[in-house]
Amino acid sequence: MTGSALPRFATWFVVGAIVAVYAHAIYYMPIPHNDQFREIYYTLAFPPGKIFSNFLEAPGPVFRPGEWVMRYLIVYVFGPYPSSYNYFQILFVVLVGGLALYAISCRNWIDAGAAITAITFLFGHHAFPATIEGNNTFTNGLALLAMMAALPILQSKGGLSSQLLAIAMSVATVLTKEVGLVVPFTFIAAAILGFPGVRRWTALVLLVLTLAYLGFRFTTLPALLAETTAQGRAHTGSAYLANITASPIMIVTGEPYDGNWSEFVRRHFYPWRVIRIVLGLATVAIIFAAFCLRKAAAEAFPEDELVDWKWTLLLLGVVAASSAIAFHYTRHRFGGMALPVAYLVLYRSLRIVLWRLSSLDGRKWLRVTAGSLLFAFSLGWASRAADVFFALRYLGATTLVAWVEHYQDYRTNDGKHPESLPYLDSFYWAALELPWPTVQNDSSFVKKWLGERVMNR
């Protein structure tokens, strides 16, 4: 194996192993009842025409026809079984892994070290498992996937096919969930910032489509605000502002949980929580360092591989847009749309920082100190990527117990639609036949490391 092949192989190996172990955990995850049983039942019991005509006649507070298309596709492609959703989520993880590899180049060990650390950041960041946590959040996963696919488009030469793909992806994600607005925003912002991959006419088309969508949404938004009185939803201007300001901090550090600052001091400071905060701040510091080094780095790297104003502003813009969309309520998964740009910027930043460190002559103590800190940084994100496997396993255990605990409640609630009960029973047995994650056997070290409510990580 040649010198350049080994770093590339190591990077592929890491992506393959992370995808495989996540897929393993997802394969044994039961489908939770809340938020989606009714939707899944409708897709199984009624033809698409009936669902869409009902949908258009009486639009609800949310307008997500793309979600219904996806649900029908899942059933048509993978079969009418509960496990189809597991296969779909495994496909999502595989595609993210493939696009993560496509977005980077790996010619030497500097590239590989940066790429492997950035990949563990992508899969280990708290926003990533949040897109898998209940399979109704797969729509956030779709937005994450579209943002991964946007990375090569931004850096392309702006050919016609990439422009059409940008428009198609934007329309599909916006019609699937409101968070999809970040996708056209990214393309429009990229055109303004001078990225070569997005033409001005593409940005103009996207701007018109986005304004049309927003016009439609603002006319239906009062219905959304009047209907949702659920706990944790904002209803006043100051509460919207609190969510919008908490979200970027949450994207970086994971805190405050659900945008609630009182949770910050109420919850135990388990090791993973401290690590998460430190790693988030260190990631920002590394990106900032690479930005400051952009002029010196221009000697060693081509212009389109730097962390310049363009990429920095795009990253800030994507974080701001994701935060703005979280005005009504904020969750970890709202950071998912910003992850792909952050992933690529972190990869580039690490390459630049490593290059700078290796070119420091005669200051061995600085190299050793900075190298040790970077090793700890990489170790931290690798441990976070491993944590996600355990978190998904715990999530499976929680959902399994919920089926036993709440089955009678589900049956009472769904009893209004007696024809849905055979589907409910199918879900029950499909869940109860899955293997039990042996969480009770985990060592006290694992429990102390992960905390009691692992999915709240």
Binding site: A17, I18, A20, V21, A114, A382, W429, E433, P435
Partner: protein, 87 residues
């Protein structure tokens, strides 16, 4: 090896280690037995009380599962070989 490559390799090591551990676990789970999962005995009240005492206390007695007759859509999952047992 150049000093820049040494630094890059240092940064790659934790991720590579996690990848090796993941592959070792998956091979063990699929070729020998599944160490992190076991047969699902949640309908056994004693087992439920052991793994989730709060839920067992709330239920107070074993739940009566629904009938398996006439399930609208169903496919038995393929289960791995187990080597864990409840403690």
């Amino acid at each position: 090896m150049k000093s820049s490559d040494r630094l890059g390799l240092l940064l790659a090591l934790p991720g590579v280690f996690v990848a090796f551990a993941s592959v070792a676990y998956l091979l063990f789970a699929n070729l020998v037995c599944e160490p992190l999962y076991q047969r699902n005995d949640l309908l056994d009240f004693e087992f439920l009380a052991k793994v989730k005492p709060s839920v067992a206390a709330k239920l107070g007695a074993p739940v009566s599962p629904p009938s398996r007759e006439g399930l609208a859509f169903y496919k038995a999952p393929s289960l791995p070989a187990f080597c864990s047992s409840p403690r």
